[in-house]
């Protein structure tokens, strides 16, 4: 009967949750990054970047471990394809956060006073979207535990809808931010392009969080 233990393989649920937590930590570091940009603290910026790099690296390792432990001939409580898709979107949260930190660090970007509030507002809401996505991924073990029971599924669906609402708000905040940037276009010159890019990336965090949620909906609804 020792074979029963071999038969029940390592569940990907725990590692998926660890990966998401690491990815969302990357995103959360965007908040101190924006504050450092607001005061132009180059040291704090590179410290924050180092932290993001570290979390991103951690997420990468977990991602590789998950992928190599997921041979085709494993019967899982969820579709293999859906799970890998969710994993990809989780991972892009970490990647985007890393892109943001790299650009800010490399170019030594200090926020013009007019842009501080729009940046802060967008970053805060985007990170909240990521945190909401993390809460959803944290329900995966409960979903498996109840065998994807109706009660638990309904609760998760509601959480995903809430995530959608947060993402819609970030779209509006992105619009406000972009308009601010383009108003300053004459004064900022070529930097306009970079500020615009940064805003898009910060909003991308929320987009990817929403993609995690939407894919997760498919995974749950099989």
């Amino acid at each position: 009967m020792a074979w029963i233990d071999k038969l029940v393989g390592r569940s990907p649920v725990g590692p998926m949750q660890e990966h998401m937590t690491a990815a969302v930590r990357c995103a959360q570091e965007i908040l101190p990054l924006v504050e450092a940009m607001a005061v132009g603290d180059a040291e704090e910026i590179s410290r924050t970047r180092a932290k993001i790099d570290e979390f991103e690296h951690e997420a990468d390792e977990i991602k590789h471990a998950i992928r190599s432990h997921m041979p085709r001939r494993v019967m899982m409580a969820m579709e293999r394809r859906d799970l890998l898709d969710v994993l990809d979107f989780q991972d892009s949260i970490a990647d985007v956060a890393q892109d943001i930190a790299e650009l800010v660090d490399q170019r030594g970007m200090k926020l013009p006073p007019e842009l501080v509030d729009p940046f802060r507002a967008l970053a805060k809401r985007s990170v909240e979207a990521c945190v909401q996505a993390n809460l959803i991924i944290n329900e995966l073990d409960e979903l498996v535990e109840t065998g994807f029971g109706d009660r638990e599924v309904a609760q998760v669906e509601e959480m995903i809808s809430e995530l959608g609402r947060i993402e819609t708000e970030t779209d509006e905040l992105l619009d406000v931010g972009c308009r601010c940037v383009f108003q300053l276009e004459d004064r900022l010159g070529v930097a306009t392009v970079y500020w615009h890019q940064l805003l898009l990336w910060v909003a991308d965090l929320a987009d990817n969080a929403e993609r995690v949620g939407n894919r997760f909906r498919l995974l749950v609804a099989r």
């Binding site: 020792a2 029940v8 001939r73 019967m75 109840t146």
Partner: protein
């Protein structure tokens, strides 16, 4: 009382190998089923060994006769062979299965003792006398049961898991539900054990009950079990509430139910697997005694089942604790609620097969049950490659066991003939 020196060498040999097999069956198989209960702290290792040994012995002694009968005389037309041929053949079968068991233990191969014994008996029968000596219809029935028993236990496990899901896990307060629903499962297990042993089964104890008497007795046993379950479940500590792990308390109470089902597996295992050890022994004793004044008593006798049961118990005590220690320390992905569903399904299937005198593989039946829970989306990951390995060894065991037993047959023929 015959003195020891008058017991023929064949019986000494057969008894020795049968004991070794019983010991090894106890050492490996059951310890695993109990391991999780030990790991969760619900039972101490020695507590688990005692409980498992009691249920194994009861299964072997009270309900092991039917399968033993099948192994002893069900598959061969013994009228076609001489007593000597039967003795050499059964010795060869024991040797062949014992060798495969050694190989399985050494190299960690999923070889089923049941399959080895059946393959070995068919092998020597077909070669020593000829294919006409084999009761192919009965053998076919057994081989088909090796496919149907995992299917049945898989289906049962699927259903049982759906029941726990809709009655317990998918409810407002699963912790309260498990305490409330749990006693019904206790009733079910004890009722089935009662039916299987009492319904025309207790010849060993010279207890002959009518159908209605055994039904009533089983009902009473079931109710006693339910009461015991209610007390145990009420007293089970659920531990602290953890908002991140909302089901941890429920799972902790499920451990009680898993101890119950591990007992059921132990009972079922004893009732089915004891035959692998004592079936051939019974055939040999019967053949040796034929023509003597013991001729009329060639059937499976209680003392043989008792020896098998004791062998399994000793295996548990001498080696099982190590297995339990390792299994208990490992973090198993099979949580108590899943282990419960799978074990309850497997135990039910095996006990039914035992009652019908069909030798099935405990491991294969459990594998079917785990797959059933997996199909119900209840397990994070089931490694189907392991299923492939088990099926491969399933198919390979039969010819290998048959070949080995043919070789041993001619060996014993040369040695004793």
């Amino acid at each position: 009382m015959t003195s020891l020196s008058t017991i023929p060498i064949e019986i000494w040999l057969a008894g020795g190998i049968a004991l070794y097999m019983a010991w090894s069956i106890g050492a490996n198989d059951v310890a695993n089923a109990m391991g999780t209960s030990v790991g969760s702290g619900a039972l101490t290792i020695w507590g688990a060994i005692c409980v498992a040994a009691i249920f194994e012995f009861s299964g072997a002694f009270l309900a092991g006769g039917h399968v033993t009968d099948t192994v002893r005389k069900g598959m061969l037309d013994t009228a076609l062979m001489t007593n000597d041929q039967l003795i050499w053949g059964m010795l060869a079968s024991l040797m062949s299965a014992g060798t495969l068991l050694l190989v399985a233990t050494k190299y960690g191969l999923p070889i089923s003792t049941t399959h080895s014994i059946i393959g070995a008996i068919v092998g020597f029968g077909a070669v020593s006398i000829g294919p006409e000596a084999v009761k192919w219809a009965k053998v076919g029935e057994i081989v088909i049961s090796w496919i149907t028993s995992p299917l049945l236990s898989g289906t049962l496990a699927f259903v049982i898991f759906q029941i726990t899901r809709s009655l317990i896990l998918n409810r407002e307060d699963p912790l309260a539900r498990v305490r409330k629903i749990g006693p019904f499962f206790f009733f079910y297990v004890f009722f089935i054990i009662g039916l299987v042993t009492l319904f025309k089964g207790l010849k060993n104890l010279n207890l002959d009950l009518t159908i209605s008497e055994s039904l009533v007795a089983s009902l009473v046993l079931g109710l006693v079990g339910a009461l015991l379950g209610a007390i145990l479940l009420r007293r089970a500590h659920a531990g602290k509430k953890d908002p991140g792990q909302r089901f941890s308390q429920t799972e902790r109470v499920f451990v009680i139910l898993q101890i119950l089902t591990a007992c059921a597996v132990a009972f079922a295992h004893g009732s089915n697997d004891v035959a692998n050890a004592v079936g051939p022994l019974a055939a040999i004793v019967g053949a040796v005694n034929e023509g003597t004044d013991m001729a009329g008593k060639s059937a499976v006798q209680p003392w043989m089942l008792a020896i098998g049961g004791i062998g399994i118990g000793v295996g548990l005590a001498t080696w099982g604790y190590r297995v339990m220690e390792t299994v208990g320390k490992k973090i198993t992905e099979l949580t108590p609620s899943r282990g419960f569903a799978a074990e309850l399904a497997a135990a039910t299937t095996i006990v039914l097969a035992s009652r019908m005198g069909i030798p099935v593989s405990t491991t294969h039946t459990l594998v079917g049950a785990v797959l059933g829970v997996g199909l119900a989306r209840g397990i994070g990951a089931v490694d189907l490659r392991v299923v492939g390995q088990i099926v491969t060894s399933w198919v390979a065991t039969l010819p290998v066991a048959a070949g080995l037993s043919i070789i041993f047959y001619y060996f014993f023929k040369g040695l004793l003939g």
